[in-house]
């Protein structure tokens, strides 16, 4: 009988959850302190031509601080990129250009800009601030045998966004996004995204992402290998001087 009432109670709670409550649940889920991976990114244009990039990434604070060293293609080897997100000012982005022996700062005014020629913009890679968006819950759906919350996420008018809205499918079990559609400022579908996750050390972590810009017919496929979490990455790593050399581990 207890079990029955627990079930009724929890079902009532779930059904009564609003969009913002689901967003808060999503935001509050357990995330690693730091993360390391080797990312393979394949870009494919409308004519079927591809470019392959391989890079080593270290990040802390849920990707708010991230440093990337480029391994492939050969032309990009040695180039490195540092990003530090700030709450109340423009993000810092620096790039190490080994051929020039210079670090150059890159403008971060336009969050809609593409990252590395991919279909992921800086806005896509940044964490969404809950207060900057309105979350409307729409009917739940089952995607790939996973029961999902479906949210309509609308950036508030004061927010500088390149999107008018997103439709986001969140797996109820892992509270990870498994699918998203993003619409441009005119309301037309711009990007279709698909995510897959695996469990690592008690966390759900993303192990691949597929993004298609339906307007440009351009695709980006990223897979994350050598995933490690909570390895104790020092915040000191995220400094300009560390761009110049690849970490040993």
């Amino acid at each position: 009988m207890k079990i029955f009432w627990k079930l009724v109670f929890s079902t009532t709670i779930i059904f009564s959850q609003t969009g913002i409550e689901i967003a808060r649940m999503f935001d509050a889920k357990k995330t690693p302190q730091d993360m390391s991976n080797v990312a393979n990114m394949i870009l494919t244009n409308s004519k079927g031509k591809s470019r392959v990039n391989k890079m080593v990434s270290r990040s802390i604070d849920g990707n708010k601080k991230q440093i990337i060293w480029f391994l492939e293609p050969k032309d990009d080897k040695g180039v490195a990129f540092l990003k530090i997100e700030h709450e109340n000012k423009d993000d810092e982005m620096r790039m190490w250009l080994p051929a020039f022996n210079k670090v150059r700062r890159i403008s971060s005014k336009k969050k809609g800009d593409s990252f590395m020629g991919s279909d992921l913009s800086y806005e896509d890679l940044s964490n969404r601030d809950i207060d900057d968006h309105t979350y409307n819950r729409i009917d739940d759906e089952i995607i790939d045998e996973k029961s999902c919350y479906v949210l309509e996420v609308i950036p508030n008018s004061k927010v500088r966004s390149s999107y008018s809205k997103h439709i986001t499918w969140i797996d109820k079990e892992s509270l990870m996004i498994i699918k998203e559609q993003s619409f441009d400022r005119r309301g037309a579908l711009k990007k279709k995204k698909k995510f897959s996750h695996s469990e690592l050390n008690g966390y759900f972590v993303m192990n691949s992402v597929f993004v298609e810009d339906v307007q440009k017919n351009h695709k980006t496929e990223v897979s994350f290998d050598e995933l490690r979490v909570d390895t104790g990455i020092s915040p000191n790593l995220f400094q300009e001087k560390n761009l110049k050399r690849l970490p040993r581990n």
């Binding site: 982005m93 790039m95 150059r104 700062r105 890159i106 005014k109 800009d113 593409s114 590395m116 005119r186």
Partner: protein, 774 residues
Amino acid sequence: MSEIKSKYSKHPLRKWFITQSLDFPLRTILISLIATIFLGSGIRFFIIDDDMMKILPKNLDSRISWDVIQEEFGSTEVIFIAFGKQGESIFNPDAFAALWDVEEQLEASNKVEEITSISTATRMDNLDGFMEIDDLQPYRDMRADEVNDVKLYLEKNPTIKKRFVSEDNEYFMITVQPYSSEGLNYFRDEVVSIVDPILSNYEIYYGGQAYVTGTMPAMIRDDVIILARIGIFIMAMVLLLNLRSLPGVAMVIMVIALSLFAMVGSMGWIYHLTGSERFLFTLANTSMPIILLTIANSDGVHVISKFFKELRLKKDKRLAIASTMDSLLIPIFLTSITTIAAFATLTLSPLEPLFGYGVVIGIGIAWAWFLSSLLLPSVINLKHWNHKSSAITKPSIFEKIINRFGKVVLTHPKYVFSAGAFFVLIGLTGLSKVIVDVNMTNFFRPGTEIRDTMDFMDNNMTGTVDIRVRIEGDIKDPKTLSSMRTLQDSMEKDPKVITSFSIANVVEQMHRTVMDDDPQFETVPVERDKVNNLFTMYSMSGDPDDFSSLVDYEYKVGLITAFSKVMTTQEIFAYVNKMTNQVKAVMDPALNIDFTGMIVILRDLVIMVVRSSALSIIFSLIIIGIIASIFFKRILWGILAVIPLSSAVIINFGFMGYFGIELSHITALLSSVIIGVGVDFAIHYISQYRRLSKTIGTNKLSRSVVDDVGYPIILDAGSNMGFGALLFSAFVPIQYIGGLMVFAMVSTSIGTLTVLAALAELLKSRLVKRDESL
């Protein structure tokens, strides 16, 4: 009835034809109409499309390169839009807002692939050590100081400025690229319908190949309708004046209209069944309806005028029809065959639309022969004719003129021949003066809207004739990039080439920006690693599509684009030769270089126009000579048949040289038309000469022939003044064709009645003796 039947014809085939008209007129009319309606029903598949690229054969090097570039970098046929106000600077917030609105609206169209203008361009700045890539116009409503900042940036980067702003800072330029090079008329209409209302407070100018190509179908359609109306009106008037019979004129017009319908329908059917671009109706085809009009008219005129003459003599309609058709079936068939043969030589032309022209007009001519041989006599048979009408009882003004004319020719054959030869000599001296020019700007008269807008683009903006150099190799290699810049410098040395751009310019700009905006570093870096770093850095904040018109995705193919003002043919040849040599001199031989663009296309078109004209003249004269020799069973007749034609062609091209009328892909078909239409006169003359030589003595033979065929020939030529309708065309080369054809009709008809008559008179002893022996 049996008495009449026995008089139809001795020849079984001619007898069959005459029987169909005399004994089964209703059945013949019905079958003819059903067949015509079926053929004409292809009109629903008929398409007007005047894309200059479709004129060139698909296996031509420059066309192949062009197609490859279209595939790799998108359509290079674009619309240029310039807007502004004369005497006012365009650098003001209102103009920027208007530019933004135009870009937004065009962007929303599914026919637009890409827009290039200030509102879509990016700027690269070095701000306090920041490498910043931002929109040149980030939003619609710019403040005056922001507008001024854009102006300063463009002045610092003149290569970029040339693409977007006029030299006097009074006009903005927008380049609109279509999704596809197909259906450019719809693309053009959509662009104009979007832009015109937004920029109603500004002067607007359109240009570019896509605009011209997109504008042409409507212009061609309107032109053809107007010309056909004027042509039919002129012919009807000439016929009415001479036949003096409304039903007679109506019958000729009926043959013309049905032939025209069948021809246009057949073009639609062939395009529908083959899908071949050769059967699209282009500017070159604009003259086709008028030409068929005159040919169909010629068949009808001969039948009606001969029928009136026979009716006057025989006083019996059926006997008159039988006699008319017995004497005309062979000449009409022969003139149709020779005219078809002359036009068939167009199928040898390397210019694609002329192939379709040759085939389709051949079908039209064959249909006109079919209708004139069966439908027309059947209709004549059904009509009750008043034997006492002046049209039948009295000779017309033309007949009277011919009587006097015949005397002059035949009493002074040597003088007449010498006068003809003198004209030919004058023509010969003018041949070397003929200019070949295929530039479409010259197809429109100054003062017309389309010409003025094209001239504006040429004079105030970058020019609209594109030059493209496709470079296949390692585009990130500094040597490749540097040689691209060297080549661009050479290209821009010509004063008519206003600007050029390539990925090498972007690399220079990025290099300068990274090196703290120091102008000294606006160069291609020497080290490859630096070039790599620049591209990687750009990719961190630039749009991946920013370089899509300059380099392919894998950096294996680069494109240099330059724009030039309109060049003359001589300038085009000199420029292309110079640049071809320059490519060999400055570019690494390991690179695969293709030089193309509209300028090379125009060069190739010129070569093909010359080749097409030469092929057409040589082959049509040979074929007609052979056909005439076979039909008249003597080589001498074959030679005599082509002499007036050769003379007319020489005089025609000589006059083109003297009067500065350019030979283009439109006027290239003149020789075929002159030969194809002009040969009819010679055929009629020779047929009648041979026919009468059997019954009339040599002393009176030529006179009798001129009496007999002179009138229909002059009437035919007179009614062929319908070619004059082409003078009312909106297109300059079509007007030239009209003028020259009027002149050619006069020269070939008079040439037949003078040069051919005089030669026949001079050679009569050989001609008659030999014919008698056959």
